[in-house]
C-alpha cells in the first residue's frame, strides 16, 4: 500500500502526467465531437457506438508515452536509484509503479471512451448510439482495458530501454509501422497480422461486428474471440513487463 502511495506522489508531483492526461482526453473526445457534429444525415444510421471510438488510438499513444516517461525520467534523473535505495528488492517498487501508472491509463481510457460516446449521443440523439449488445458495451467500456495493458507494454519498454527518446521511438515505430506493414508481406502477412499484439488487442473491442465504411476496421479470421484476444494481448504486455522487471533487478542501477 505504501509503495502505491509513493508512486502516486511521484506521478502527480510533476507536470507531464497532467499534460498527457489532458492531451489524451482532448484528442479523443475532441476528434469524436467534431466527427459527431459533421456526420452526414444519410450516414447517421451507421453512427454506432464503435464508430465513436475511432480516435482512441491517439489517446492510447499519449498514455503510452506518459507510461514510458514515468520510467525513463526516473533513469534520466537517477531517482530510480533513490527508489532502489528505499526498496532494495526493487520488484515491489516496480510492481507498484505498474499498478499506479497502468491503473491511471486505464481510467483515462475509460473516461475518454465514455466521454466520446456520451458527447456523440448528446450531439446526435437520433443516431443508433444506445448500448444494448455485449459488442456495443465492449465497443465503449473495453477501451479502458486496452489502455491499461498498452500502458503496461510501454512501462516494460521503458524498463528495458531506460531512455526516453529511444523507448518512445521504438514504441511508435512498432505501433505505426510494424503493425501496419507486416500484414503487407505476401502470403504470410495475414497470418502474422492475426498474432500482432495491438491488432489482437483491438480485436477485443471490435470482434464479432461487421465492418462498415465509417466504423473501425474489423479483421476477419482472428484466432481468438473478444475475451481470448484480451487475454492474449494482456499476456504479451505482462510478459514484457516481467522481462523489464527482471532486467531492472539484475542490472546495475
Amino acid at each position: 500500500m505504501t509503495l502505491l502511495t509513493v508512486e502516486r506522489i511521484k506521478l502527480f508531483s510533476t507536470r507531464s502526467p497532467w499534460w498527457c492526461m489532458i492531451l489524451a482526453t482532448v484528442l479523443t473526445v475532441g476528434l469524436t465531437t467534431i466527427f459527431a457534429a459533421t456526420v452526414k444525415s444519410q450516414d447517421l444510421a451507421d453512427f454506432d457506438p464503435g464508430t465513436t471510438q475511432f480516435a482512441y488510438n491517439f489517446g492510447l499513444v499519449v498514455m503510452m508515452v506518459m507510461s514510458t516517461l514515468a520510467v525513463t525520467t526516473e533513469y534520466r534523473f537517477s531517482t530510480i536509484r533513490s527508489t532502489f535505495l528505499a526498496v532494495p528488492t526493487r520488484t515491489p517498487a516496480l510492481l507498484a509503479k505498474g499498478v499506479v501508472v497502468a491503473g491511471l491509463a486505464g481510467l483515462v481510457g475509460e473516461v475518454t471512451a465514455v466521454g466520446s460516446w456520451g458527447l456523440a449521443k448528446v450531439i446526435q440523439p437520433d443516431a443508433p448510439l444506445s448500448l444494448n449488445t455485449a459488442n456495443e458495451y465492449r465497443n465503449v467500456f473495453g477501451v479502458g482495458l486496452v489502455y491499461l495493458f498498452a500502458s503496461v507494454f510501454a512501462l516494460a519498454v521503458g524498463l528495458i530501454v531506460r531512455q526516453s527518446a529511444g523507448a518512445i521511438v521504438i514504441e511508435l515505430v512498432y505501433l505505426f509501422l510494424l503493425e501496419n506493414l507486416l500484414p503487407a508481406i505476401p502470403r504470410i502477412g495475414d497470418h502474422i497480422q492475426h498474432w500482432l499484439p495491438f491488432t489482437v488487442g483491438d480485436n477485443f473491442i471490435v470482434a464479432n461486428q461487421t465492418h462498415h465504411a465509417d466504423g473501425p476496421p474489423v479483421i476477419e479470421g482472428m484466432p481468438f474471440g473478444p475475451w481470448g484476444s484480451l487475454v492474449y494481448f494482456a499476456a504479451i504486455c505482462l510478459g514484457l513487463f516481467v522481462i523489464g522487471c527482471a532486467l531492472a533487478k539484475r542490472r546495475d542501477a
Binding site: 505504501t2 502511495t5 506522489i9 531517482t79 536509484r81 533513490s82 535505495l85 542501477a253
Partner: protein, 340 residues
C-alpha cells in the same frame, strides 16, 4: 559499522574496484580517500546495493543492504545531489522518499529545518543552487534518522561556508554515535573532517589507519631553526652529523635552517649545550597533498606523464607532481594538524 570483504567490480575491461577490504567504525568520521577514478563512488554504490559486486561482499551492521528492512531508517546516503526530479519540489521529493519507508510526514519538515531549506521547501528542486542541492541531499540522507551515513564528495563545489557547515554537521553526526563514511579526493579536507582514513588508489586499498598516523607516516617532517648567529648554528648542527638546508628569507618567514629527520628536543638540547641564542625552533611538515601523492603515486589513474615515485614510507617529496594535483609549496605547515 560497514565491513567490505574482497570487494571487486569490473566494468568490461576496467577494474574499478579491486579486492578491497576495510571496516568503518561507528562514532567516528571515516574518510574514504582516493584520487579521481580510484573507485570511491563505485564502492559506495556497491555498499548500497545499487551495483552488484563482481566478487566479494559488503555488509552494514552484519547485513547486506538488500536484506535491510526499511533501509532508509538504517542507512542514509548522499551519492549525488542531482538525483532529484528538477520539476518536483523539495518537499515532494522528500515526501515520496519518506512514504516509501513509512517515515512520518512531520519528519520531512524536521530535516528541511535541520538543513535550512524550510523557506524554499515548495520550490522546484531544479532551480536550486549547488549548495542548496547538496543540503537537500543531506536532508534526504537524514530522513530516516539512520545510524549509518554515506556521503560521496559532499563538499565538492561548495563555498567555504558550506564546507564548514558540512564538516561540523558530520562531526556532530559521529559524536551522536553514528557511522559516518565520507569520500573525498582531498587529503587536506579529510585531515580536518575525518578521524580515520580508508585510502584507495586504482581500486586497491593503500592504507586504513587513523588520519594522524597516515599523515605522520606519509609526510616528511623537519625542524626549522633560526637565531642571530646563523653561521655558528649551521656549524654546530652539521658537526653532529645532521643534514642542514638553508631556507632563504621568504613566505615562511625570515631566513632559517631546516633540519630533516630531527626533533625539536634534540636540537634544543644541542644548541643549549653550546650556549647559542635561538629565535625560532619549530616542526615543519610536508604538505598533505605531497604525502597523498607519495602514497598513491603509483595508483593515480590519470597522471600526466610523471616518473614513478617509490611508494610507502617517508621518502623525499616528489619533484614534479603532474596530473590532477598542483604541486604545493615545499614544507607548508600541516593544516589542522592538531586541535580536532
Amino acid at each position: 559499522m560497514i565491513e567490505a570483504q574482497g570487494l571487486t567490480k569490473r566494468y568490461g575491461r576496467t577494474v574499478a574496484v579491486n579486492d578491497l577490504s576495510f571496516t568503518v567504525q561507528p562514532g567516528r568520521v571515516t574518510g574514504f580517500l582516493g584520487p579521481n577514478g580510484a573507485g570511491k563512488s563505485t564502492t559506495m554504490r556497491m555498499i548500497l546495493g545499487l551495483d552488484n559486486p563482481t566478487a566479494g561482499t559488503v555488509r552494514i551492521n552484519g547485513k547486506r543492504y538488500s536484506e535491510l528492512h526499511q533501509p532508509l531508517s538504517k542507512v542514509g546516503a548522499l551519492l549525488d545531489a542531482k538525483w532529484v526530479h528538477p520539476n518536483r519540489s523539495a518537499r515532494s521529493h522528500l515526501r515520496w522518499i519518506a512514504a516509501s519507508n513509512r517515515i512520518p510526514v512531520k519528519r520531512v519538515d524536521e530535516v528541511l529545518e535541520a538543513v535550512g531549506l524550510t523557506s524554499v521547501a515548495g520550490k522546484r528542486a531544479g532551480g536550486f543552487s549547488l549548495g542548496m542541492s547538496q543540503r537537500l541531499g543531506i536532508a534526504t540522507a537524514l530522513l530516516g534518522d539512520p545510524g549509518v551515513l554515506l556521503f560521496d564528495e559532499p563538499v565538492n563545489g561548495l563555498d567555504p561556508e558550506g564546507i564548514l557547515w558540512i564538516r561540523q554537521f558530520m562531526h556532530r553526526l559521529a559524536a551522536e554515535g553514528r557511522t559516518v563514511f565520507v569520500s573525498s579526493h582531498l587529503l587536506s579536507e579529510m585531515a580536518l573532517t575525518a578521524q580515520d582514513l580508508v585510502v584507495i588508489g586504482r581500486g586497491r586499498l593503500i592504507a586504513q589507519t587513523s588520519t594522524r598516523e597516515f599523515i605522520d607516516a606519509a609526510s616528511e617532517s623537519a625542524v626549522r631553526v633560526r637565531g642571530p648567529e646563523m653561521e655558528r648554528l649551521h656549524g654546530v648542527l652539521t658537526s653532529q652529523g645532521l643534514t642542514v638546508r638553508d631556507v632563504p628569507d621568504g613566505d615562511d618567514g625570515p631566513a632559517a635552517l631546516l633540519v630533516p629527520n630531527a626533533s625539536t628536543d634534540q636540537i634544543g638540547e644541542l644548541v643549549g649545550k653550546v650556549g647559542l641564542v635561538l629565535h625560532e625552533l619549530s616542526t615543519k611538515r610536508g604538505s598533505l597533498e605531497q604525502a597523498f601523492i607519495q602514497l598513491t603515486g603509483q595508483d593515480v589513474e590519470y597522471q600526466a606523464g610523471r616518473p614513478g615515485v617509490p611508494g610507502g614510507g617517508p621518502v623525499a617529496p616528489p619533484q614534479a607532481a603532474g596530473g590532477v594535483f598542483t604541486p604545493p609549496p615545499a614544507n607548508a605547515t600541516t593544516p589542522g594538524g592538531n586541535g580536532r
